[in-house]
Every structure is written in C-alpha cells, then in structure tokens.
Symmetry: C2
Amino acid sequence: MPIEQARRYMEAALDLARQAAAAGEVPVGAIVVKDGEIIGHGGNRPIAGHDPTAHAEIVAMREAAAKLDTDRLIGCDLWVTLEPCAMCAGAIAHARIARLYYGASDPKGGAIEHGPRLFEQPTVHHRPEVYSGICEDAAADLLKKFFSARR
Amino acid sequence: MPIEQARRYMEAALDLARQAAAAGEVPVGAIVVKDGEIIGHGGNRPIAGHDPTAHAEIVAMREAAAKLDTDRLIGCDLWVTLEPCAMCAGAIAHARIARLYYGASDPKGGAIEHGPRLFEQPTVHHRPEVYSGICEDAAADLLKKFFSARR
C-alpha cells in the first residue's frame, strides 16, 4: 500500500480520535476496512457509553461485524491511532482481523509490543499482520494535549 | 462467603451457559453481582449477536454498567463458568471488577492462570481478587459435552 493511502486511512481514525477528545473521552479512534471500504468507525467512548469495553477498536469491530452479519471479520483490516490494550488485542484475535495498523506506541497500556505482547503468546488463536508508527506523532500529540489540559 | 452461597451464584452463571449451548454457542455463562443482587447476565453469543466481543463476561459487564450508568463496576463481582480469555480479563481490569470467581480452568485460551496471565502483568491497571474452581466439574462437563456432540 502506498504510504499516502495508509495516511488517508489513519487520518480517518485520527478524526474519530479528535471527536472523542471533544466529547471528553481519551482521544483514540479506529476504523475497520474491507476491500478498500470503511465498514466500521469507532471513537473511544466508555464514559458516554457507560461501557467499560467501549474502546475505539471494539466499537469499530462491533459495527463492522453487525454490518457483515458475522462474528469473524475475515479479510478486514483495523486501523487505530494507539497501540491496542490486552482487551482490544484479544478482540482483534477473536475477530480474525487480517492486518492491524496502529499509530502511537503505548508503553503503559499497550499489549502488542509491550506488557503481555499478546500476539507472541502461544495460546493466542489468531495473529494479524502488524504495522505500527503510521501518523505516530499526530496520534501521540492528541493524547499529550488531552492529558496536559486535564492536569 | 459460605460455599453454598458461592454455588448459588455460580449455578446462575451455569444456567446462562446452558442457554448458550441450547442456542448453539460455546457454553459459557457469567453474572455480575453488586451488594448481593445480580445486575448483569451474560451467555456467550458471538454467533447469534454477530459480535466477536460477545463473550459471556462482556455481555454481563455491559449490562451491569448500563444499569449503573457508569463505565466502572466499583464494588461489583463477576462470576463466570470458565477462566476468562485475554479480551475478557482486560475488560475486567478496565471495569474495576472487585472479585473474579470462575469455574473451570482453560489451558488453551485462559489468560488468568495460563498464557499471558494478565493480572500478573506490571502494565495491568487493576487486579481483582481471583477465586477459581467453583462448580468446576459442572462447567467443564458442559463444555466437553458441547464439543463432543459437534465432532
């Protein structure tokens, strides 16, 4: 995939992260793409949704699965602005996501290249291809600004 | 808690697991209890729900959080018939579940005493108290019968 196309997809996820920030949620956004089409959109919304599981990735994957009438997102890619946590990494495996693209790393809560490194665990049932660092600075800046404004 | 009371809670989760099996889903059930009252019920339903995240624990915690109008299940306990996977263990941490009670161990997909052992990871933000082995045989038998009938 040309880098410009990759940036366009991550920019769509960043838009959802900005909307989350405007709503007072931690700014993380995600989209699910199948055959070039965006079929799932998620902004982080646990507070507004009264739902501890409503991370951007989960919201986007649930929308995509409902749209496809299935629980397996075969051939689908997930784009998310931040390294997924263990909950979301587990959901990505259950959903059989083909490729995971993320922006900023998350040493404190990430579960891909940090902590449990879930896709390196022998008990994980599915491993997507993983690509990181796309629009990393924009994604990290959003989070930094959000948290510094709250201090 | 007297063991008879513990068995009654787990029996409620087992009922939900049996209903899941009757619907053709992997038989796992869960409840959320606050101050002695069951405020969340979940049977495993990814297939019927077209939702890769619809494990029993997630369904039960989402119901409880919606009922309490919050994303944090402070002071709530989760009872589930099978050792939670990484996705569900992550959700349990996000929800701030106080105590986790589970029935059967799951060496293939469990993430509490197997695989990533999520609550032993330094990056996990919350660790519930964990109690296992309650009605273990009943929970394991349900799963064994379900999978042997499908072979």
